[in-house]
């Protein structure tokens, strides 16, 4: 283990819109090692690999490959130097064939044109290496299942002769047999002294595959150690760290609550695999787990956005709403604070006033015509209710800060007087002060008899706000925690689906 590092990062920093994603990170990986990168949601893992693979450029710092300083302008520059990344969001082109995709940027040529026969042969060879002989290279990628696409993605990465191979959640959709194939493949590559950076949320895979582990937290590199030096519990603690926690309003004592929403065995398109839950009147039910375990789909399903949801749902005597319109007008009324306020929450170029009333036009119209007096009253009411700091309600909503934009989204939905509020990570990218106001308001709403289903990627918020938390893993509820049992250790352990003692 004395080999010189193949890849070395010194003082790498990166900010997005003023928010630090990476903060002077030093990191090195040795030749021929399988190196795991661990961290919570938002710890900076994705930014790290995007920088290494040339997708984004760092704001500061230096990267060395084989001891030579390098600066990748784009992904093809990284690939040319043997740094190949398999992205979590697939990099395959759906309308092209498997063979086209595997040799996409540098196909075999004959007289300047793509040699389709050689390309087919190459695809067959590479697919055989990942034991996917069942995939016909002439098929279009869009006709493949997600697990086959991931294997094609691996074959594509292999075809680029990597020195450093980055696998970002490469195994998230694979079958057990494919995972074994990937294990074997990584073993062979390691023997050929290829370095693998392995990002996975599955602890047992990390344990089976990796020889070194690095933990990231809040954009910082916390510690790197060899496998076996730390127990699972210690790793979890490293990932959590000690953060300055926001102040949360006090929770009421546990009490029996009448159910307003009961779901049993919800299934949808492989993202939800039998989710059951109950939501009580006046309760804040937290939804936890790592990103992409079905939380977003769960909220969308309750709001009537998804088609073909299977399972039994009962809310106030009716089932799932068939569209957002029935969701917001039926009984009980449902509101959704969406994941992305810039596209699904707001119409950025339109005024604050217009945005505030978009979900509740029925309250401000008289026989289909907008009543200016009611409009004015509703807008003033919305602004006052959430103390939104605005110059004029006629300003475009995009001129507001992130926190105030989110307040506009929330005020807009409160105007419909909802009974059930679905919140999809409502505090993402907003300042601490506004966060506290939002937590306060959530508690007030719950005390006033509203029910809140609250997904957050920040465990601290679930601990501070929720009366009860369900943790999702791979489309299923793996744990339910109540009251004092909602701790960071329990949440992180459940999210990784490992049995950490609370």
């Amino acid at each position: 283990m004395t080999a010189a590092p193949i890849i070395e990062l010194n003082g790498i920093s990166k900010s997005y819109a003023g928010i630090r994603a990476l903060d002077s990170v030093d990191f090195a990986a040795k030749r021929g090692s399988v190196h795991a990168i661990l961290g919570e949601n938002g710890a900076g893992k994705s930014t790290l690999i995007k920088i290494i693979s040339g997708v984004v450029a760092p704001d500061a710092g230096e990267m060395r490959l084989n001891g030579q300083p390098v600066r990748f302008q784009n992904p093809s520059a990284a690939t040319a130097q043997g740094v190949v990344c398999m992205f979590q969001e697939l990099s395959l082109i759906p309308d092209l064939s498997v063979a086209d995709n595997i040799s996409i940027a540098a196909p075999p040529l004959r007289m300047g044109l793509i040699d389709r026969h050689a390309q087919l042969q190459r695809a067959e060879d590479l697919l055989a290496r990942v034991r996917c002989e069942d995939v016909d290279p002439r098929m279009l990628v869009r006709d493949l299942s997600l697990s086959r696409r991931q294997m094609v993605e691996i074959a594509k990465a292999l075809g680029r002769n990597p020195q450093v191979l980055i696998l970002d959640e490469a195994t998230s959709a694979l079958t057990a047999q494919d995972v074994q194939t990937v294990y074997d493949l990584l073993g062979k590559l390691t023997a050929e002294s290829v370095t693998t950076l392995f990002i996975s949320h599955r602890m047992h895979e990390v344990e089976a595959l990796c020889d070194r582990l690095s933990v990231f937290r809040n954009g910082r590199h916390i510690e790197t150690f060899a496998k076996g030096e730390r127990s699972d519990a210690e790793i979890v603690r490293l990932m959590i760290g000690r953060d300055v926690t926001a102040k949360y309003p006090p929770k009421p004592a546990a009490q029996a609550r009448p159910s307003v929403l009961t779901a049993e065995g919800l299934e949808w398109e492989g993202a939800l695999k039998g989710v059951s839950l109950t939501l009580g009147k006046g309760e804040i039910l937290g939804v936890g787990g790592l990103d992409g375990q079905g939380q977003k789909e769960l909220l969308l399903a309750f709001f009537g956005v998804l088609k073909g949801v299977k399972g039994r749902v009962e809310m106030g005597g009716r089932g799932l709403p068939s569209s957002p319109i029935t969701a917001k007008t039926g009984q009980p009324r449902i509101a959704l604070i969406p994941e992305d306020r810039k596209t699904e929450g707001l119409m950025l170029p339109m005024s604050i006033a217009d945005n505030l009333v978009t979900a509740a036009f029925d309250r401000i119209t008289r026989s289909g015509v907008i009543d200016p007096v009611r409009l004015e009253a509703a807008v003033q009411d919305g602004i006052a209710r959430l103390q939104i700091k605005v110059g004029s309600p006629q300003d475009a909503v995009r001129t507001l800060s992130g926190g105030n934009q989110q307040k506009v989204v929330i005020a807009k939905w409160l105007m419909t007087e909802p009974d059930i509020i679905l919140m999809n990570d409502p505090t993402r990218g907003i300042d601490v002060g506004t966060k506290q106001e939002i937590f306060r308001m959530m508690r007030d709403l719950a005390d006033g008899g509203k029910s809140i289903l609250f997904y957050s990627s920040d465990y601290a918020e679930l601990i501070g706000c929720a009366d009860r938390v369900i943790v999702l893993y791979d489309g299923k509820v793996v744990r339910e925690l109540t009251g004092e049992a909602i701790t960071e250790e329990a949440l992180v352990g459940a999210s990784l689906n490992i049995g950490t003692a609370a």
């Binding site: 997708v55 784009n74 992904p75 093809s76 690939t79 990344c85 992205f87 969001e89 697939l90 990099s91 395959l92 082109i93 759906p94 309308d95 092209l96 086209d100 996409i104 940027a105 540098a106 196909p107 300047g112 044109l113 793509i114 389709r116 002439r138 098929m139 279009l140 949808w268 398109e269 789909e297 969308l300 956005v305 998804l306 088609k307 073909g308 569209s323 699904e344």
Partner: protein, 343 residues
């Protein structure tokens, strides 16, 4: 075969529709299945077929080129000055016409790529510029196009050989099997085979499909995105110039007809869609659009032989287009996350 149909449903459907329409047309036509009818039909279809090919390339990467009709008109006006004189002069003239359109397309590409403008608005502006230049060149319709060339390229292979006294004036045994084929069709197929098919098999060509299919994935896969966008508009300019060249040969004049240019642009979009190319990009091809253009023209031929009121033509064409597009929209019914319909 089965796989090809499954992967090219739109194109396959267009082929079936085209074959059916062509067959019935010839059965109904008093002189059906004759060379004369074929020559006439081909002459009336080649220009729109070239413009449809031009439109296809930007559409494949999810852009629209609203200047294709105008570039065609500009090229035709240039041609009305240059397609005359000695054989060498005419050859030079043809190259100059093609270069005009190609250069105009390249300019479109440069504006879109480096000016970072939306293709639709950039080409709306440059299309107006092209028409403006055409009007400067030909304030009134007119011009001088070599009569032999015009005749030879708008009739059958036999006429071509006869005009230029090659292959024993068209009587040589090896030319007999092809004697009745219209030259315009050969030109169209020739350009498609010699330009489009090889282009499709370059990395640049494939990148155009990749951009239309998933631009982000194309970027992280390290594909030459800017080069492909430049190439797409340049190629559109080249195909538009082919259309202009043919139009000048066919009419023997240059005419800066603004209305005609606009109609060709709109019809090119219709032809692209009819051929099965997705306006969302990534699926389709120039050959498919040629078939789409031929369908569009065939429909109009029906009006002539069936004595239908010509006033009904736009109405019927609109209905056919709407039906054809609806057939391609079934996909949206299988979308399970309704939010995806808005992305």
């Amino acid at each position: 075969m089965g796989r090809w149909v499954a992967q090219n449903r739109g194109f396959a459907g267009a082929l079936v529709l085209f074959a059916t329409l062509l067959l019935i047309y010839n059965l109904l036509h008093p002189r059906g299945f004759s060379s004369a009818v074929l020559v006439q039909n081909a002459n009336e279809s080649v220009a729109i077929a070239f413009v449809a090919m031009a439109q296809t390339v930007p559409v494949l990467m999810r852009g629209l080129d609203l200047s294709v009709g105008a570039v065609m008109t500009l090229s035709a006006c240039v041609a009305s000055y240059l397609l005359t004189g000695s054989g060498l002069e005419i050859s030079f003239g043809i190259l100059a016409v093609l270069a005009t359109g190609t250069a105009f397309g390249l300019m479109n590409g440069l504006i879109v790529v480096y000016g970072r403008l939306q293709p639709i608005i950039a080409t709306l502006a440059t299309g107006a510029i092209a028409i403006g230049l055409a009007l400067l060149l030909r304030p009134q319709p007119g011009g001088d196009v070599d009569g032999d060339l015009s005749w030879a390229l708008t009739n059958t292979v036999w006429d071509f050989a006869d005009t230029y006294s090659i292959a024993d004036g068209g009587e040589a045994w090896w030319i007999r099997p092809f004697a009745d084929i219209p030259v315009p069709l050969i030109l169209l197929v020739g350009v498609a085979i010699l330009v489009w098919l090889p282009f499709k098999r370059t990395v640049t060509g494939r990148t155009i499909y990749a951009i239309g299919s998933a631009e982000g994935a194309a970027y992280v896969s390290g594909l030459p995105i800017n080069r492909a966008k430049l190439a797409a508009f340049t190629l559109a300019g080249f195909f538009s110039a082919c259309a202009g060249l043919y139009l000048a040969l066919q009419t023997s004049t240059g005419n800066a007809d603004t209305v005609q240019a606009g109609a060709y642009t709109l019809n090119s979009i219709a032809a692209v869609v009819l051929g099965g190319t997705a306006l969302a990009g990534g699926i389709g091809g120039a050959i498919a659009s040629v078939v789409g253009a031929l369908i569009l023209r065939l429909i109009s031929f029906y009006f002539r032989i069936l004595d239908i009121e010509p006033l009904l033509q736009p109405l019927i064409e609109g209905l056919v287009l709407l039906l054809a597009v609806s057939a391609g929209a079934w996909r949206t019914f299988s979308v399970k996350n309704r939010l995806e319909l808005f992305r």
